[in-house]
């Protein structure tokens, strides 16, 4: 009886395809709205790149039956093709709801959370290995512009890391639901 109860509880924790499809749609709506409010464009608009990948679908190897192009001549039947054979093709298929969510989450992690963590690693190197005298400011620039294209101060980094960690925890909740779903599918 206890086992049965546990099984039912576990089953109820699994996210099925319909649920993951619905969650994907809801999350995309939230992210599109946030992108528009924050006026993200060009290189900052990660959502367009991620959605383009999802729309393109996945490449799957499939075997298809193809007619032979080799013709044989039969004295009675005349010209005819010599049967058919199977061949490998690459087919474009839609991603499943779970796969779409996976790609979307990876996009958020790479574009929104990872940069703060990259900056933390750079800052750690500079502060720990650089010794005294380093004020913690990091400039990014190129040979064209005289001003830095990006400036990272210790204050920026700390604030962003705290906020990014909060987002990472929330995204982690979605990922846990997916993991349970994938475990159920095995």
């Amino acid at each position: 009886m206890v086992d049965e109860t546990n099984r039912r509880q576990k089953d109820s924790a699994k996210m099925d395809e319909d649920e993951s499809d619905a969650l994907y749609d809801q999350l995309v709506t939230v992210l599109k709205s946030r992108r528009d409010k924050d006026e993200l464009s060009a290189r900052d608009d990660y959502l367009t790149a991620v959605l383009a990948e999802i729309d393109a679908g996945k490449a799957v190897q499939v075997k298809l039956k193809v007619p032979s192009e080799h013709e044989v001549f039969d004295a009675i039947a005349g010209h005819r093709t010599a049967g058919s054979s199977s061949a490998d093709f690459i087919q474009r298929q839609d991603f499943s709801g779970v796969e779409k969510l996976e790609i979307l989450i990876r996009g958020i992690e790479t574009s929104v959370i990872a940069p703060a963590r990259m900056a933390a690693e750079i800052n750690r190197s500079l502060e720990q290995l650089g010794g005294v005298g380093f004020d913690g400011t990091i400039y990014f620039g190129d040979d064209i512009l005289s001003e830095p294209t990006r400036t990272v101060t210790p204050g920026d980094l700390l604030t962003t890391l705290i906020n990014a960690e909060e987002l990472e925890a929330l995204i982690g909740e979605v990922r846990i639901s997916l993991t349970e779903n994938q475990g159920a599918a095995v």
Partner: protein, 224 residues
């Protein structure tokens, strides 16, 4: 399983709460990725016993640090670009740079996203306005920050082609996105790579640092 009702609202609020633009936008990733890999190279050098010092283009310890976001000459004076000096006892000093050009066998300049070169070579190049020779590279890394699985086979082929001009040795290809085709291509040609590398994947990060450590270990053991 449905997620808890407030989760999406909380995700939206967390996105809204992030400071705008500077460190939590895709463009930040593009700018920071090479410097992040450079920091991993330094971590590996430190693990292998090197003393690290930071220097600006005039050889002074910098109070703030300038990184390149686009490749330029090692002798560029556009900004006070900085680099790391890597010192293994009893071995020639090295320098680690982000985004410099190096001259290949053909004398054509190639972009090196992360380059570890001999300091003696770097000094000559800064003094004489010339590109470092690729034969003086101890380690080089090609870095690709992609939001989707956009690391196509073409980039892999380009990297293999590039290696023909910048000599053999420890050249790495790293990227944020997975790419089974590129992975297969590099496996067939036995080329160092780490795809799917971001700070969120600590296992891959540790594996790459370990490979960099092997490069430095070989450098320490090689004949002076």
């Amino acid at each position: 399983m449905s997620i808890r009702p407030s989760l999406l609202t909380e995700i939206d609020a967390a996105l809204a709460g992030l400071p705008k633009g500077n460190l939590n936008s895709a463009s930040a990733g593009y700018d920071l990725y090479e410097a992040y890999v450079w920091a991993l190279v330094l971590r590996a050098a430190e693990n292998e016993g090197a003393t690290i010092r930071f220097r600006d283009r005039n050889g002074n310890p910098p109070t703030s640090f300038w990184f390149r976001t686009s490749p330029s000459n090692i002798f560029s004076k556009a900004h006070n670009y900085c680099h790391a000096e890597i010192d293994f006892p009893g071995r020639p000093k090295l320098e680690a740079h982000v985004g410099i050009f190096v001259a290949g066998r053909s004398h054509i300049a190639h972009e090196c996203d992360v380059a570890v070169i001999f300091k003696s070579e770097a000094d000559i190049c800064r003094a004489s306005n010339v590109e470092p020779r690729s034969s003086k590279l101890v380690l080089a890394v090609e870095c690709k920050y992609y939001l989707n699985s956009g690391i196509g086979i073409g980039l892999g082929r380009s990297f293999l082609g590039l290696l023909n001009d910048v000599y053999k040795g420890d050249r790495y290809f790293v990227g944020t996105a997975e790419s089974p085709n590129v992975k297969t291509l590099f496996a067939a040609h036995r080329k160092n790579n780490e795809l799917g590398l971001t700070p969120l994947n600590t296992r891959r990060e540790a594996r790459l640092v370990s490979r960099f450590e092997t490069t430095f270990d070989h450098f320490k053991s090689s004949r002076p």
